[in-house]
């Protein structure tokens, strides 16, 4: 089953925000944003801009009818800077003009008088100043302090991992249209329609029922449009509220890169203790999260770093502490993995550190510590583990030792090219860690021509969620997929949605759809039973458009049945609700069972480093991945391949660079590089884990959005192996990404020191 959008995608007929036909009278918006990262906003001068041709209105904080606040979790983020500016790119004013070009032109005429304040970009500096977004969070298992006393080997160090720009190819944007009686219809490129609705309500002081948010699809989201789509929708809504005209704002790329947050950079201190059998006995870690200027989603991201701080390993004594540090950067936000990848990078660094010092292969430590059934995660959940299983199946199929031996042999024969191989197991918990968010609704209509319409809270952004939801309806009604249409995500049809995030959209919304379809199906069976002379509805099934009685086909078809039900005034619609069962978490003790299930997998990553030039290629990524039982292989394999490549990008060439004044230097596609067709692994091999264990996923098909990204971490450690093969005296700092610059400097570290 191909992604249902494929055909309109290849023909260029799929509709994204900027493709929505314009309504007459539409105004175009452009932000004037802060040119400095921290300062007191003393005055704003819009007089020159107001004189510009086509300008209809210029809005600043004082014009707002509602609250000047867009913070979703904490109320610490003004829509417009009012007294202070907190990051370069913070909106100060909004120009509305008759054309986009006029709006942009006028925005350049605005000036602001800002008295500079100290700029902090380093989370450790913010930590020392005790400038934290939320109080620190901590996970404890066993007694790490005591356990370290008995460890044979203890290693401690520091690891740093940089952020990542989402670089959805469709930039952020919104289009707001006035509706009658002061209402607003907002088209938004958002993963969180309800978040947009709530935010718009707040800044306009309108009740939520006055605001309709509609999302057809996104040209990529990756977490970047979970919370950070709100601002643009709020700006357009405020513009519409004040002018009663439609207002559109589709950001230019450089505006988007400059004004929006990214994956959180982390700095961490770790201490790892092993016994003589290489069992990890104790692990202590302190995370300094670079949150940016306001909370955004930093607190839950910080929490997920803790949830995944031991990756796929069982460590009996853990003490993990995390600080969310406020800096003068754009508020950092969700990005595929949501803090988990950073936690995993740090423990993998600690293991690599131990392995190097002990002169063993990191894979040996990794393998010996994989979490097993019944082991406890640091947050109290008991593992139903596929870690060893996926490791073994990957090793059996791809033979890590052989790959490593081949690399060693290659390295002996080549002075200026070195190969490195690394194992990368992953374990990722599925569910929003904030338990109340694990709910969804689906609205299913069966029309009298037999066609089916489904609306859910899930947002399609290329991950194929709508295809999976259509499959659910098609499967339950036993109808061809063409009879099912999944409609736009709309807050009038589906209220109070959780964002499409946490890899959970297909599970939550698919399950809700399943319930809705089953409810309608049951009603139809009850209508059908007397018509086919069945005693009860239980004897009736519907298969391929026909009613069956006790397994025997009848002449009663879907269309006739549906119409008969309608004649009998039976409800052919259902609005169903699903809430993930059995999950809970108590932050007062930092224990619970937050995840419906975990996704496991193991990858082997191989690279070759050109030791003359310091550049590299990823030769292969071979994985054994836990799909549960994939309901759509073409979609799921696409998610795996895509996640791997995005993860490799994060670990290699993608380097977010801010200068000391908080100015983004990597501010365009020419200075921020994401993988191109030549930088993907030459070979990606994916073999599904064989397991008969059940799970809570939709149709047993486990969530697949985020977990594969973390296979990419293996590329970092494979490059490290290659660098060490060339320059064994040098142990590179744990500092991702491993850019060609860092590779070359580490290859020739001795010579640089001598020079």
């Amino acid at each position: 089953m191909k992604n249902l959008d494929s055909k309109s995608h290849v023909r260029g007929e799929s509709v994204y925000l900027d493709d929505i036909p314009l309504i007459q009278g539409t105004l175009f918006a452009c932000v004037y944003d802060s040119p400095i990262a921290h300062g007191k906003l003393e005055s704003i001068d819009i007089s020159e801009a107001e004189k510009c041709a086509g300008v209809v209105k210029i809005i600043t904080a004082k014009d707002l009818i509602g609250e000047n606040e867009i913070g979703g979790i904490l109320p610490d983020e003004p829509l417009f800077a009012e007294k202070e500016v907190h990051f370069q790119g913070m909106p100060i004013a909004l120009v509305l003009a008759e054309t986009e070009e006029q709006a942009r032109h006028a925005a350049r005429k605005i000036t602001a008088k800002i008295e500079p304040l100290e700029v902090v970009t380093d989370p450790r500096v913010a930590f020392v100043k005790n400038d934290l977004i939320v109080p620190p969070k901590q996970f404890k298992l066993g007694d790490a302090e005591t356990a370290f006393r008995d460890c044979e080997h203890i290693f401690q160090g520091r690891a740093d991992v940089n952020g990542q720009e989402h670089l959805y190819i469709e930039t952020q944007g919104a289009y707001c249209v006035p509706t009658e009686q002061n209402g607003l219809k907002v088209y938004s490129s958002t993963q969180g329609p309800t978040a947009v609705q709530r935010c718009v309500a707040r800044v306009t002081a309108l009740p939520m029922h006055q605001i309709e948010v509609d999302v057809t699809r996104l040209g990529g989201g990756f977490g970047g449009k979970e919370d950070q789509a709100n601002a643009w929708a709020a700006l357009c809504a405020v513009g519409t509220q004040l002018t009663r005209r439609p207002v559109k704002y589709a950001l230019h790329r450089m505006e988007d890169m400059r004004m929006t947050g990214k994956r959180h950079p982390y700095s961490a201190d770790y201490r790892i203790g092993l016994n003589k059998d290489l069992k990890i006995v104790a692990y202590e870690v302190t995370f300094y999260q670079n949150a940016g200027a306001s909370a955004d989603l930093s607190p839950p991201v910080l929490e997920r770093t803790l949830f995944h701080c031991t990756n796929s390993y069982y460590i009996p004594n853990v003490s993990a502490t995390a600080y969310s540090c406020r800096t003068n950067l754009p508020p950092n936000t969700a990005f595929r993995g949501f803090g988990g990848p950073q936690g995993m990078f740090i423990i993998e660094s600690a293991i690599a550190h131990a392995a190097e010092k002990l002169n063993v292969s990191a894979s040996e430590i990794q393998r010996k510590n994989l979490i097993a059934d019944g082991d406890e995660f640091p947050y109290g959940q008991i593992a139903a583990s596929e870690a060893a299983n996926s490791w073994k199946q990957a090793d059996d199929k791809y033979d890590f030792e052989r790959l490593k031996t081949e690399a060693d042999e290659f390295n002996r024969n080549n002075k200026f090219a070195k190969k490195g191989v690394a194992m990368m197991p992953i374990c990722f918990g599925i569910s929003f860690t904030k338990t109340p968010m694990n709910q969804a609704r689906s609205l299913v209509h069966v029309y009298t021509d037999g066609s089916v319409a489904v609306s859910t809270g899930a947002v399609e952004m290329g991950q194929g969620v709508n295809t999976k939801i259509a499959q659910v309806a098609g499967e339950i009604f036993s109808l061809p997929i063409e009879r099912v249409k999944v409609h736009t995500t709309n807050t009038l049809r589906i209220a109070n949605t959780s964002p499409t995030a946490a890899s959970a959209a297909a599970d939550l919304n698919g399950r809700a759809t399943q319930i809705a379809c089953e409810t309608i199906l049951q009603r139809l069976k009850e209508v059908a039973a007397p018509l086919v002379e069945a005693q009860t509805a239980d004897e009736v099934t519907i298969e391929n458009g026909f009613v069956y009685r006790g397994g025997e086909s009848t002449n009663l078809d879907w269309l006739v049945l549906v119409n008969e039900a309608h004649q009998q005034r039976v409800n052919l619609s259902e609005h169903a609700h699903y809430a993930t069962p059995g999950i809970h978490f108590d932050w007062s003790i930092a224990k619970g069972h937050p995840f419906a299930y975990h996704v496991y997998g193991t990858a082997i990553v191989g690279v070759t480093v050109d030791c003359l030039r310091g550049i590299y290629t990823v030769d292969f990524v071979k994985t054994c991945h836990d799909f549960g039982s994939s309901m759509n292989k073409s979609v799921d394999f696409g998610q795996i391949e895509g996640g791997i490549v995005q993860g490799i990008g994060w670990m290699t060439m993608e380097e977010v660079v801010y200068d000391e004044q908080g100015k983004l230097r990597s501010n365009a596609l020419s200075t921020y590089k994401i993988p191109d067709v030549y930088s993907v692994p030459k070979e990606i091999e994916i073999s599904p884990l064989e397991t008969d264990r059940g799970n809570l996923a939709i149709f047993n098909s486990k969530a697949v959005g985020e977990p594969p990204l973390m296979y990419g971490i293996g590329a970092y450690f494979a490059i490290r192996e290659s660098v060490k093969a060339f320059n064994p005296e040098n142990l590179p700092r744990f500092d991702a990404p491993f850019t060609p610059e860092k590779v070359l400097l580490n290859l020739y570290s001795e010579k640089i020191r001598k020079a």
Partner: protein
């Protein structure tokens, strides 16, 4: 008053929009062809890729280009094709489209049309059809979702289809296979008629100042950069439209890109000469260049991407004066000279006076570039954060004439290590008369370090750039003589 006139898909269109407006904005916002997407507006993502067909003798030559950097002036008299121009009726799919769907090569779909257009161009162009050339055709398209492996598989299956071609022209085959519509068959005649219908008057120019009712141009709100000259000369637009996208729309430009008199590559007894509007792809397709530079494809593949190579002129790279211009480094090592419209000729080495400062009068533009065929060995090296489709951290080129194991002539250039593209005079002179040996290379490397003054920026730290240039200098000898240092 002359208007810009061209064939858009199957329709002849004319517009009185400023000739500096981009084709992207024209097709999306004036012709409502929304299949062409906006990703970056700097030619770095490929979401806005279109086909540009141009009369070339007795056929129409198509090349993929990024419409975000393409001024309408450069569309004049050409065939511009968007996805709407290849879509079949009744929701049927072209071979390219079905190959992508078959391999699940589309996820969010935003980049997809760009890939469709690049691969469609691949079906029309004259390159041999192999897995490698197919990938090369999409090297300017970024997919963030990131479906490259499936798109690779789609490209491979498409290549198989294309290799069924037997005796027909590419275009005939593509029409027969439904890759492009039948109407493409008549485009050549239509373009010829269009050319005859052109008159000689200049297109209307509305300046940026007029547009916004600003009388003093210095008040236009834009940084004064390359557009400080009254009538900037524009080639392919790939630098100017990245640097000054909004000002370019109304700039009173002189567009040289479509000037047939500036598109030639000639060989005389002494010189190779290339015209100012020759683009990088023209070098790739030139028999002369392929003969002179055995690793031409390998080297030029490192320079930007297919659609940008289809637009970027060599002369434009020189005039842009970026310290890391790849083609500038290349031609510095050939000791090329540049000939202006005024017939003044100067060595390229003397063209750069300081950062972005040229030895050129405002009304001068480069007419041709020439160099002597006086080398036996040539190599080009470039390292950037991403190996392909990226701007160099450091680049370097070398040309050598070796006779009896001795270096008779040596010319080394380097980019990214000084405010200007650098000809390494002392290093080059040092190499004269030497044998290729480890000592020669090591000593030259040290001299080289005295000639450069790199700064730390987003493309690398000073210490990295110094080391990298040393490595690339060594790499020249590794590539040309299989010579590797022992230390």
């Amino acid at each position: 008053m002359k208007m810009i006139k061209f064939i858009l898909n199957n329709q002849t269109v004319q517009t009185d929009l400023p000739k500096g407006a981009t084709v992207l904005d024209f097709v999306r916002y004036h012709k409502n062809l929304k299949g062409t997407k906006i990703g970056c507006r700097e030619g770095d993502c490929g979401a806005c890729t279109i086909l540009v067909g141009e009369l070339n003798g007795d056929f129409v030559k198509y090349r993929s280009q990024t419409s975000c950097l393409m001024p309408l002036a450069n569309a004049n008299g050409k065939h511009i094709v968007t996805v709407e121009g290849i879509n079949k009726p009744n929701n049927e799919l072209t071979e390219v489209q079905s190959a992508i769907i078959e391999e699940s090569g589309t996820q969010c779909g935003f980049c997809t049309v760009g890939f469709v257009m690049s691969l469609t161009n691949f079906c029309l162009d004259e390159t041999p059809k192999t897995a490698e050339t197919a990938i090369s055709a999409i090297d300017g398209n970024i997919c963030r979702c990131t479906g490259y492996k499936s798109i690779e598989r789609a490209a491979a299956s498409l290549t198989e289809v294309l290799n069924e071609q037997n005796g027909q022209s590419r275009l005939e085959f593509a029409i027969g296979k439904g890759i492009v519509p039948d109407s493409f068959a008549d485009i050549k005649n239509r373009l010829e008629n269009l050319r005859i219908g052109q008159d000689e008057n200049s297109p209307a120019i509305q300046t940026h100042a007029e547009k916004f009712g600003v009388t003093d141009k210095s008040d236009a709100g834009y940084p004064k950069t390359i557009l400080k000259t009254a009538r900037p000369f524009v080639g392919g637009g790939t630098d100017l439209y990245v640097q000054n996208p909004e000002e370019m729309v109304y700039a009173a430009t002189e567009n040289l890109f479509s000037d047939d008199d500036l598109r030639f590559i000639n060989e005389t007894d002494e010189f190779i000469e290339i015209g100012a509007s020759v683009v990088v792809t023209d070098l790739l397709e030139s028999e002369i260049f392929n003969r002179l530079f055995p690793n031409l494809y390998k080297h030029l593949k490192l320079v930007s991407s297919t659609p940008i190579r289809n637009m970027a002129t060599i002369a434009g790279n020189f005039v842009n004066a970026s310290p890391i211009g790849d083609m500038t480094a290349w031609f510095l090592a050939l000791d090329a000279t540049i000939v202006f419209n005024t017939t003044r000729e100067i060595p390229l080495r003397e063209f750069y006076l300081g950062y972005k400062t040229l030895a050129k009068a405002d009304d001068e533009f480069i007419k041709k570039i020439r160099f002597r065929r006086a080398f036996t060995h040539f190599n080009f090296e470039k390292v950037s954060k991403r190996t392909y489709l990226d701007i160099s951290s450091v680049n370097s080129a070398i040309s050598l004439k070796i006779e009896n194991n001795h270096i008779e002539k040596a010319q080394v250039s380097a980019g990214g290590v000084a405010p200007i593209p650098l000809y390494l005079k002392k290093t080059s002179e040092f190499l004269l008369g030497k044998e290729i040996s480890e000592n020669t290379i090591l000593e030259a490397s040290e001299i080289l370090q005295t000639e450069i003054s790199p700064i730390s920026d987003v493309r690398g730290s000073e210490v990295y750039k110094r080391l990298l240039l040393k490595q690339l200098f060594t790499a020249h000898f590794a590539e040309l003589f299989d010579f590797h240092p022992t230390a």
